[in-house]
Amino acid sequence: MPSEVLFGTTMVMLEKLLDFQSQRHNMLSTNVAHVDTPGYKGYDLRFSDELKKAVGTKGTIPLKRTNEQHLPSEANKLKGLKGRLVLCNDAIHRRDGNTVDLDKEMAKLAENSLYYNTTAQIVSKKMNLLRTAITEVR
């Protein structure tokens, strides 16, 4: 995996984050789109628990595998990570059976897209660091 060679597991983690955040964006857009659909049940995607489990309680980046016969690399564990679908019951007061609370969904959406933009910015900066390392040595 070339990105692992150049950036270590950080890049794998950032890739995962971007992936997850775009998935969550899709999920939240669905919720907003269905704000007037009777009986619609809203979902959210959770990721932090899974990430914590994969990274460990101390939040350390896992070791790199130097030999094929070693135990599997933890980066592979990161790659298999997936968000967990959670049914949200924020607005149970609605009589049409719909569970979407528009204000909460819009707030989550804004928060999630800020996170996405931040992650993209970090990836961009990491690329820049590498580029500096490549070009600035004379």
Partner: protein, 145 residues
């Protein structure tokens, strides 16, 4: 995972809300209509929204659990209100019955206005989502620039 899914979902909601707006305008415009092609006074119409799976996404085969929960909005039916017409006394009206009463559409203007506001807000919320999607896409395009 692609952003086209988010755009597809939001745009389906936009067109559904726009159709709802059309139906409400039709209700308000025909508030005094006594003759229709199906006979009798105009009857109030309402849209029926339903969630439908997005067809044609590549991921639906693989990432099924998540893909199943991503659904677009579709207007599956325009229901016709079966409330009896409101009888108004107006003996000079050409459609008045022998007792001088005319059957008028039973449409509550305030109810329709509230529905217009609700449709407008939902439309705006979806436009906001589309703008957020666009900003995320352009941010992703900046990676490696």
């Amino acid at each position: 995972m692609d952003f086209l899914t988010a755009l597809k979902i939001s745009s389906s909601a936009l067109s559904a809300q726009r159709l709802r707006m059309d139906v409400i305008s039709s209700n308000l415009a025909n508030i005094n209509t006594t003759r229709t092609s199906e006979g009798g006074p105009y009857r109030r119409r309402d849209v029926v929204f339903a969630s439908q799976p997005i067809t044609g996404t590549f991921g639906e085969v693989f990432n099924s659990e998540l893909e199943k929960s991503l659904q677009k909005v579709e207007v599956v039916d325009i229901s016709i209100d079966q409330k009896p017409p409101k009888m108004v006394y107006d003996p000079r009206h050409p459609d008045a019955n022998s007792l001088g009463y005319v059957g008028m559409p039973d449409i509550n203007v305030i109810e329709e206005m509230v529905n217009i506001l609700s449709a407008t807000r939902s439309y705006e919320a979806n436009v906001a989502v589309i703008n957020a999607t666009k900003s995320m896409v352009s941010k992703a395009l900046e990676i490696g620039r």
